[in-house]
């Protein structure tokens, strides 16, 4: 950081004065951080192991020279950024930027076990004091890291450190860091098998992302190809470029079921054909996307000089990230509840238009009455084919909605020197935005939660994991690289022998081959979850995936526990 400080000084001296504020502020924050580091070092002299003290005598002033120092340095940066209220910053491509230290230590003759212990200690340290991070729930702290990945020429960047990280995570069984794994159709089966062992732990990771889809998708959005190939996840699942983006990846959301419901009430009775109705829904989706663009364009966030010094472009240009000094300043928004929306329209098509089993008015009355007194109609709607059962017609509606959403949002200027990008995540919106949306024709009652991210609804009848991955890979996912995974729950018994693990790995490989963009699997046992809800004291260490992160089940608010339990109805 001394080098960084020197750069800031020389920049401010040669600057014509128009960026004086930024340089002054940046210097102030860097000095404060270094000051803090010095006090910490002083304290460590008498209160910490010698190795830590020695490391603190060098870093963060000097560049780290060993893997251990690099870990201390990294922890320092993470901590000071948190203190600076920069939350949800992922750890990026840890196995790439830490690799030189790992290798040079090995070359110097350090035993691999020692390095591995350091790695594990670092991971353990990420689990301390996580309550100081601002998140929706305990565990939602954005400490995700990305492993592997392919260069533009197809070269595989998965290395011995990636493997060590996988093994450390397997051994530690801790919720942090959350592991993401970049894969593609050429990724060897063994890697999926190792990753499936991790899934077996029940922590809900790794989360897979598909380079065959994400890299071309980012290039389509205008990212430089070499940057696209360097992508990571921001914190949960949104793809971003480490060190080059100051992107707000979750600035807003378009709630598909809300649009469907609105358009039904406005236009169902006047529409003579389903296609006509669908046109209105498309207009509605485009309208809501337009609202997001209008409302969020030029969005400003508070100046953050300390964060800026770590982002390429800011120091050079003298502009804070809040002044869009970074190379990429895009805004992402998610389309929430796609399955509920597609299911709703499929049910309207079948029951109202094709078979004419109920008058339009009755449907609207039933929705308005939250199905109170319309149980039969609701049962009928629930029996229609749902997204996730590999029904081409229902999935076809989803395709139209997703295309409309992507077309309406992707590439629109955001007034911040960047563009908007469309995604399929939901985060807590599967709960929040569902609260105010009345009953929908998929049979969902008012306020009932949507499926999580890019996943089947909680209302449909489960079909099975194969149909599910088929249903969720029929779209051009390169248009939806703001991210948002398909989540599936598999019963923990599936993982009990090697054969089962191999087959789960094959399932993941099939998803990747079919062109899915992101996948997250959970090993769960419904009975255990139910018991944990009743007897939390006996399940203090039960870890579950919530959305882009994992947490302790017993520490979650009721509605999230409920969602996780409902999701398990779809497990095999």
């Amino acid at each position: 950081m001394d080098g960084l400080r020197a750069e800031l000084l020389s920049k401010s001296e040669t600057d014509d004065g128009s960026h004086a504020d930024f340089y002054a502020a940046a210097l102030q924050t860097v000095d404060a951080a270094l000051d803090y580091a010095d006090r910490y070092c002083e304290f460590a002299k008498t209160n910490a192991p010698k190795t830590l003290y020695r490391a603190l005598c060098r870093v963060p002033h000097e560049p780290p020279e060993s893997f251990y120092e690099a870990c201390v340095f990294l922890q320092f940066i993470i901590f000071t950024l948190r203190c600076n209220r920069n939350t949800h910053l992922g750890l990026g491509r840890f196995d790439q930027y830490m690799l030189p230290f790992w290798r040079s230590d090995l070359k110097k003759g350090l035993p691999e076990e020692t390095l591995f212990e350091t790695l594990e200690e670092f991971f353990i340290s990420l689990n301390f004091d996580t309550d100081i991070y601002q998140g929706m729930q305990l565990g939602d702290n954005g400490q995700s890291l990305m492993l592997g990945g392919y260069d533009l020429d197809g070269q595989d960047r998965y290395n011995e450190l990636s493997e060590a990280v996988m093994n450390a995570s397997l051994e530690l069984r801790l919720i942090d860091p959350k592991i993401n794994l970049r894969v593609c159709s050429k990724t060897p089966a063994e890697r999926f098998i190792l990753a499936t062992r991790m899934t077996k732990q029940g922590l809900g990771f790794p989360q897979y992302s598909n380079d065959d889809v994400v890299i071309p998708g980012l290039i389509r959005l205008g990212y430089a190809p070499e940057d696209a190939a360097d992508y990571t996840v921001a914190a949960c699942w949104e793809f971003s470029i480490p060190g080059k983006g100051a992107e707000i990846v979750n600035i807003d959301q378009m709630v598909f079921p809300k649009v469907v419901r609105r358009e039904l009430f406005d236009h169902l009775e006047a529409c003579d054909s389903f296609d006509e109705l669908l046109e209105y829904v498309k207009l509605g989706v485009a309208f809501d996307a337009g609202e997001i663009v209008g409302k969020r364009s030029g969005h400003h966030y508070p100046a953050s000089p300390y964060l800026s010094v770590f982002i390429e472009g800011c120091v050079q240009s003298g502009k804070d990230v809040s002044e869009y000094g970074a190379k990429y300043n895009n805004f992402g928004a998610h389309g929430v509840g796609i399955a509920n929306a597609a299911d709703s329209l499929a049910a309207v098509r079948e029951v109202i238009y094709e078979r004419r089993e109920y008058p339009k008015k009755t449907l609207l009355q039933a929705l308005a009455a939250n199905f109170e007194g319309y149980g039969e109609l609701r049962n009928r709607l629930l029996s229609c084919p749902k997204m996730g059962s590999d029904d081409d017609r229902t999935d076809g509606i989803a395709r139209i909605l997703l295309e409309t959403w992507a077309n309406a949002l992707n590439g629109k200027p955001n007034g911040a020197g960047g563009i908007f990008r469309a995604g399929t995540g939901s985060a807590h919106e599967y709960y929040y935005s569902a609260r105010n949306v009345g009953a929908t024709p998929d049979g969902r009652k008012s306020g009932e939660m949507y499926g999580s991210g890019f996943s089947p609804s909680l209302t449909g009848k489960p079909t099975g994991p194969l149909s599910c991955i088929r249903s969720f890979t029929k779209y051009d996912m390169t248009r939806l690289v703001n991210g948002g995974p398909l989540s599936m729950e598999l019963h923990d018994s599936v993982f009990r022998d090697e054969e089962g693990i191999e087959k789960v790995a094959q399932l993941v490989m099939a998803f990747i081959r079919l062109g899915g963009h992101q996948l997250q699997l959970n090993s769960v046992n419904r009975d255990v979850l139910l018991d944990a809800r009743e007897h939390p004291e006996a399940h203090r260490d039960l870890i579950v995936r919530v959305w882009g992160w994992s947490g302790y089940f017993v520490e979650l608010d009721k509605q999230y526990q409920e969602h996780i339990i409902r999701r398990t109805e779809f497990q095999v």
Partner: protein, 284 residues
């Protein structure tokens, strides 16, 4: 056109043949094994399945069904507790249902398995399905082997792999615990062995019934006589009775459920048969 009732699809079945499979469960079985864990697969007629928890005794189901539970009741239950156990499929309709996932199964070295119930109790339907899937995927049949010789040979021609159950070799005991004569089962088993088709023999270990020294010795000898080199042993699952209430029946096995299955792998090995004990509680 033939049709049959299918009462369940298991996507991602892990123990029903090689690789990743979809298992199709055909409804109806001529046997009544006391330990059957799939009572909804036994009857050939469609029936109502009622979830046990949540019924408010509101009576809407009976009212809609005119005093009985039927398809109308299914729609009427406000709590969605009722469903029809089986759905009727033609072979073409079934192929449609499976078409999308076949490439996934094939890439993962798997295929489709027909189970039940007893799939051979629907020989024409089964044959047509297998013929339709020929060249599209790997086809397996899981069977008790109970059927006439003629349809068995017919189906054999169109099947790539069998999972064949052997329960009790003693004819009287077989009759007593499964309700059926085991002569056709043993005959078909020999036909299967002679055909050269790959298969795996499965032996359910029912405490005090099939896991006796006598029976396991008889089976091991029978396998040995027919040149069979391996077998899978399935320990009794104490959840076997859990679905009976939902089809309005009571599970009343004539053996002591609480006794743990004996696998007695030593007996099989002494006959040159390599046993593999599948997952479940057992003692050696």
């Amino acid at each position: 056109m033939t049709a049959a009732l299918i009462f369940s699809f298991e996507e991602f079945a892990l123990h029903d043949g090689p690789g990743m499979r979809v298992t199709v469960f055909l409804k109806g079985c001529p046997l009544r094994c006391e330990w059957c864990h799939n009572p909804e697969g036994q009857r050939f007629e469609n029936e109502i399945i009622k979830s046990q928890a949540g019924c408010e005794n509101c009576g809407a189901c009976l009212k809609a069904g005119g005093g009985r539970l039927n398809e109308k009741s299914v729609r009427a239950c406000p709590n969605r507790l009722l469903r029809m156990s089986g759905e009727s499929y033609t072979p073409e309709h079934l192929l449609e249902r499976l078409r999308g996932v076949l490439p996934i199964l094939n890439d993962a070295g798997g295929g489709v398995t027909f189970s039940g119930g007893e799939p051979l109790a629907h020989p024409d339907f089964l044959y047509e399905c297998l013929a339709l899937l020929e060249g599209r995927t790997h086809r397996a049949v899981q069977t008790s082997g109970y059927c006439e010789e003629e349809p068995f040979r017919h189906v054999l021609d169109q099947t790539d792999f069998f999972l064949y159950d052997l329960k009790l070799l003693d004819p009287a005991l077989h009759k007593r615990y499964t309700g059926a004569d085991n002569t056709p089962i043993l005959r078909n088993f020999r036909i299967l062995c002679d055909s050269g088709k790959p298969f795996i023999t499965r032996i359910p270990l029912i405490p005090g019934v099939t896991d006796t020294e006598q029976n396991l010795t008889d089976i091991a000898r029978f396998l040995c006589d027919n040149g069979v080199k391996n077998a899978e042993l399935l320990p009794y699952n104490r959840l076997a009775g859990s679905k009976y209430a939902s089809v309005g029946r009571r599970y009343a096995p004539g053996f002591d459920e609480t006794v743990i299955s004996q696998a007695r792998t030593d007996i099989f090995r002494s006959f040159g048969v390599e046993p593999k004990v599948l997952w479940g509680d057992h003692v050696d």
